[in-house]
């Protein structure tokens, strides 16, 4: 039973890092897509949303091809003695890619709902464009972004397919909660499986309740 805490803590660490990075990239990309008026916008939005509909194992395979030792990017990283395959950092990247569209979609919708009149008002008051982003646009979009980040955290916490492909199933090192559940069931260890499933369920319910309090339920649904 005590061993169940190890995958839970690892999962929280992996999902936490993935969500933190996703907030940075998702907010930047969401803001760009909300403000950039071009024909290519919808195409780029679709490409960035792909991880939401693709099978995680396919994504994991792509990541292996990219980040593996002989991969395009992996070979370059290897020169600096950085390996991502079979590490928890690799699991972070897998979770990040899978959950990224959730932050992107929420951030884009949140930025698009900010009244442009308020930014114009700030401009006439002499505030620079960068300051307007941090003082008006971002604070007014923050609830939507936070709701998306919570969903992304829940998604990252439950990541299985891509994580298994790139980080493997090394107990104590890369064995996250959902991978541990699979391993426990495969090994016929029902009591461990039950406990892990219970912990996972409670965590996910808590996150959804929190997300629901931040934004009305219907906007959560449409932001998917």
């Amino acid at each position: 039973m005590e061993q169940a805490w190890i995958p839970l803590l690892l999962s929280l660490k992996v999902a936490g890092w993935a969500t933190a990075l996703n907030i940075v990239f998702g907010v930047a990309a969401g803001f760009g897509l909300a403000r950039w008026h071009s024909g290519a916008r919808d195409l780029i939005d679709s490409l960035l949303t792909l991880p939401l509909v693709m099978p995680p194992t396919v994504l994991g395979y792509y990541l292996l091809v990219l980040l593996g030792r002989r991969g395009v990017f992996g070979a370059w990283l290897d020169r600096f003695d950085i390996q991502l395959v079979f590490t928890w950092q690799g699991a972070v990247i897998a979770s990040m890619v899978v959950a990224f569209p959730l932050v992107l979609k929420s951030a884009r919708a949140a930025f698009e709902s900010v009244d442009p009149q308020l930014e114009r008002a700030a401009r006439t008051l002499g505030i620079s464009e960068t300051a307007i982003f941090f003082r008006v646009t971002l604070p007014l979009a923050s609830r939507g972004i936070l709701a998306g980040a919570l969903l992304a955290f829940a998604r990252a916490l439950g990541e299985f397919g891509a994580t298994l492909m790139i980080a493997g199933n090394l107990p104590g090192r890369t064995q996250t909660l959902s991978v541990a559940v699979y391993a426990a069931v495969q090994a016929g260890d029902d009591s461990t499986a039950n406990f892990l499933v219970l912990v996972t369920s409670v965590t996910c319910v808590l996150i959804l309740v929190l997300a629901g309090r931040l934004v009305p339920q219907h906007s959560l649904m449409t932001s998917r």
Binding site: R120, T124, L125, L140
Partner: protein, 233 residues
């Protein structure tokens, strides 16, 4: 008021094309651009404030070229030092009254704190009877209070010109008359030049020392106001 506007701009949407062709010189301290909705009054105001870039022409205030297409001058809205009162006031909903008024006085990447204090802010809170609501957010204010906060926010930086976009349209009838009086007194006291756009003849009566009529994107005349068109709602 030494303001000269002579600009042209073509706006295209999928359905229609709108040509703005505005040329006038303001001679009075209080001037009204008068015309029906959709005539291009707001666009003219936005161009003066630097929120809309004209295709060509020039805008000169006190001999300072704000925009001049032949000389390639286009001052940023941040640099023009004009005050703009938006139709729906555009108060920042996440900031309280004090923070809204002090918004422009506080540069940098962070908003002023909830208790941000400055002699100018306290002066305006007092002058416009907003002291009791200084800690309130815009959603908690009445229509008249919202307009006063927007006015204080616009005037606190001592602008060179006050632009007002349909300032009373969001208020009910009784309040409208009172706020007109308040604005009129304020303008007289500060002696700040103002340019007001409206489709309401009562605004023309109160502020139209000089009236320019705008119709379908172009200025029709630059003469004393002849009378109220009956078709305007």
């Amino acid at each position: 008021m030494p303001l000269t506007v002579d600009i042209r701009k073509t706006l295209r949407t999928a359905e229609r094309q709108f040509k703005l062709d505005v040329s006038f010189t303001a001679s009075a301290q209080r001037m009204v651009l008068f015309g029906p909705s959709g005539a291009g009054k707001s666009l003219t105001l936005q161009a003066i404030a630097g929120l809309l870039r004209p295709d060509e022409g020039q805008i000169v205030l006190h001999g300072d070229p704000l925009f001049d297409s032949t000389r390639g001058i286009d001052q940023k809205p941040q640099a023009r030092r004009l005050a703009y009162l938006f139709q729906d006031y555009a108060l920042f909903p996440h900031l309280n009254v004090r923070q809204n008024i002090g918004f422009g006085m506080h540069t940098g990447w962070l908003n002023p704190g909830r208790r941000f204090s400055h002699p100018q802010i306290d002066y305006w809170l007092d002058a416009l009877d907003l002291k009791t609501v200084a800690g309130h957010h815009p959603a908690q204010l009445s229509g008249g209070q919202r307009q006063r906060v927007a006015l204080a926010r616009a005037l606190v930086a001592q602008p060179r010109l006050l632009l007002l976009d349909e300032p009373f349209s969001a208020l009910d009838h009784a309040l409208r008359a009172r706020m007109r009086r308040e604005l009129s007194d304020l303008q007289t006291r500060l002696d700040i030049p103002m340019l007001l756009i409206t489709h309401d003849p009562d605004d023309v009566a109160a502020f139209g020392d000089q009236v320019v009529q705008v119709y379908d994107g172009s200025v029709r005349e630059n003469a004393p106001f002849a009378g109220y068109p009956r078709t305007v709602s």
